[in-house]
Amino acid sequence: MKHWWWKILAVVLVLAASITALKVPLKPALVHVSPDRIAPGPVTLEITGYNTAFKDGERVFLMNDGQYVCPSGVEVVNDHFLRARFEVPAGLKANLTDVYAGRVHMNGALFTEGLGKGIVAPQGCGPGPKFIDLFDFAFPNRNILYETIRNLNFHVPMWFTMMVLFGISVVASIRALGSNDLRHDMAADLSARTGLVFCTLGLITGSIWARATWGAWWTNDVKLNGAAVSALIYLAYLVLRGSVPEPGKRARLAAIYNVFAFVLLILFIWILPRLNAVDSLHPGNGGNPAFSNYDLDSTLRVVFYPAVLGWIGIGVWMYTLRLRLARLQHHLDDANHP
């Protein structure tokens, strides 16, 4: 039973992280303001929120370059929809006007016409006292992403697990080169195969996520193509290894190729997307460090890291299962053909 602890831990971590990843609410946000431009004169804005709780007497106002415009009337239709009438004054300064409703706001929601040097008589509304929520455990509500931000806890751990499994594979390959022991070759082969399972899952889940946020199943993003090329390189590893009949030669050839494959993997996934010269849709790429405070807030981290650890545990477990089965098969072959 003593070898079971990490398997149980992996399952518990994945379960806890997955349930939390699905249950934690998104922070309230404004998702739509219509119309999207204002000009001096009367206008009625239709404001749609997500996870908001609009109520009568909601504090609604516009902000343009630090100056406030107060509504002449606010009609709250339901928790997440309200109409606000404004008399837009002439002479607002900035091109874009922000919309505030209760605790949430949308920056640059309104394109502004009739610009000037600022309102002459500033209006007296503005933000109320800052509302502090003692238990505010919620995921960031980001434009375009919305609920799909939860995918971070499902899609990204696939890639971490793949990296660990390919790492195990390259270590086994180096040991195979050093010792000429065929058992290391077997380990390298099976961990690469298990890594490819997670690579495939990462590609498919990423493709679905890309469709919902970037608008296409596949884009020419540098990280996408890097991942696809890496997958092909590892498939070629399996093809190469399968094409050499003599076991000793097969082990050496496959091991040397695997070391090159791993170097290329690091290059395509960890280095190329981070270069300043390339632009990428993935966060943390195009010259930025991954997972800055902006990309990954503390609420997401609390769920993300256990998910990564748990999935790595599941991946390694799957690999050890295949390895044990292959060893059994090996013994069986030896017994049949002594």
Binding site: L22, Y146, E147, T205, W209, L235, L325
Partner: protein, 74 residues
Amino acid sequence: MRTIRRAPAFLLGMLMTGATFAQGSAPGWLEEQLYHSGKINTVIAVVTVIIAGIGLWLFRMDRRIARMEARTKK
């Protein structure tokens, strides 16, 4: 060996379906499904793919063990 032969075809197929879907611009049925209620269905699809993938792996593992069992019985 069969896996190795099938995998590149699968990957290629994936890439090609991606290329053809990407050309549509008018929001269709799928768009409606994905954008519905904060795009939560995207998360459901992703979780479904992962569970189905692990399930497929289990199924193939089962077949490997069954083949070995058949050999030991001989």
